[in-house]
């Protein structure tokens, strides 16, 4: 018998396709799990609408649920994802792999991005500057640490 708890555990092992140190649960994109007999409904909200990882995430979640012997139904919710939903564990994993987690609460403003405190994930210095609002994927910006002279990727506040 599949339980919601087992489904959450299984989804916590599905890596984000573009930042694999993070699971989909760490990322906060799984919003709810409902189990009705053999039928498992997952409410899911992708990070960015243009994110090409969307279909991969859906299919990987469905696959894990099928492995539990249940019938998956992954629904993309109307509600928009917020970077505020990345878990504490997610923040730690991001820092450990050289990504700065989102800093400050959504919505971001230019003032906050340019002058707020954005610590470097390598040396923790807050003497960092915005290099580019846009980065290698829609969810990341590029910053530069003046202290350790290291460019780094900053998860966007959304």
């Amino acid at each position: 018998m599949v339980t919601a708890e087992r489904v959450w555990e299984a989804l916590a092992e599905v890596p984000d396709p573009e930042i694999p140190v993070l699971s989909l649960v760490d990322l906060g994109v799984v919003r709810g799990v409902e189990v009705d007999g053999e039928h498992v409904h997952v409410g899911f909200t992708p990070t960015f609408l243009g994110c090409p990882a969307l279909e991969v995430m859906r299919e990987q979640m469905a696959e894990r649920i099928r492995e539990l012997g249940a019938e998956p139904d992954v629904e993309v919710l109307r509600e928009g994802w917020s970077s505020d939903w990345i878990t504490e564990e997610g923040h730690r994993k991001l820092r450990d792999s050289g990504f700065a987690p989102p800093s400050g609460s959504a919505p971001a403003t230019l003032l906050q991005i340019q002058t707020g405190s954005h610590p470097c994930p390598y040396c923790d210095s807050t003497d960092t500057r915005l290099d580019n609002l846009f980065g290698p994927t829609p969810c990341r910006s590029i910053r530069y640490c003046n202290a350790c002279r290291q460019p780094f990727e900053q998860f966007k506040t959304l």
């Binding site: 609408l49 243009g50 109307r78 917020s82 971001a108 403003t109 829609p138 959304l158």
Partner: protein
Amino acid sequence: MNAQELLRLADDELILGWRNSEWTGIAPFLEEDVAFSSIAQTEIGHARAWYELAAKELGSDADSLAFDREPEDYLCSPLVELRLADDWARTIARHWLYESADAIRIGALKASDDPDVAGLAEKIDREEAYHRMHAAMWEERLRGDARFREAVDELWPFALGVLSEAQRSLLCEAVDRDEVEAIEQGERNDLRPLWEEMTMVRRSVPGASW
């Protein structure tokens, strides 16, 4: 919200996304190469989401609506059709004017009675905030540049054409300019060469998906 209005939004975002992607590899410096490519990607993502809503009403699918229509059936604004990829001042002028106009349009859609439309507008607005920040940084940098000012003058009637008549006064306030006669959808046709490129795979291999 009717399907024609949804298509209009989707077409604007799709065509602008393609136009922005024309800078990929040739932007004035690497950061802008990345920025314009990323903005293009999110605009096309927004287009897909609007096409999906329209497709529900029309009994179609997003790819068919995006790529299987004739060029004269697209409902995008003349502003987004213009090919500006060799001219950075005009590109930034369009970017700033479009984002200013789009903020007004999206703001109104967030209050829609249709929960699908309002929900999607809310989601898109949060992503567009980054496009607006980028546009604002560039406008601030170039506002004293004569070529940029000329480009804004040239594109201003096009920018008004992005919005409904009722919304145009809000754009005038937002960018502090006087209202002039707008260049509206259907008044120009600069789309065909882009359409030929954009639909080439679908026309060569009908039913292709990727």
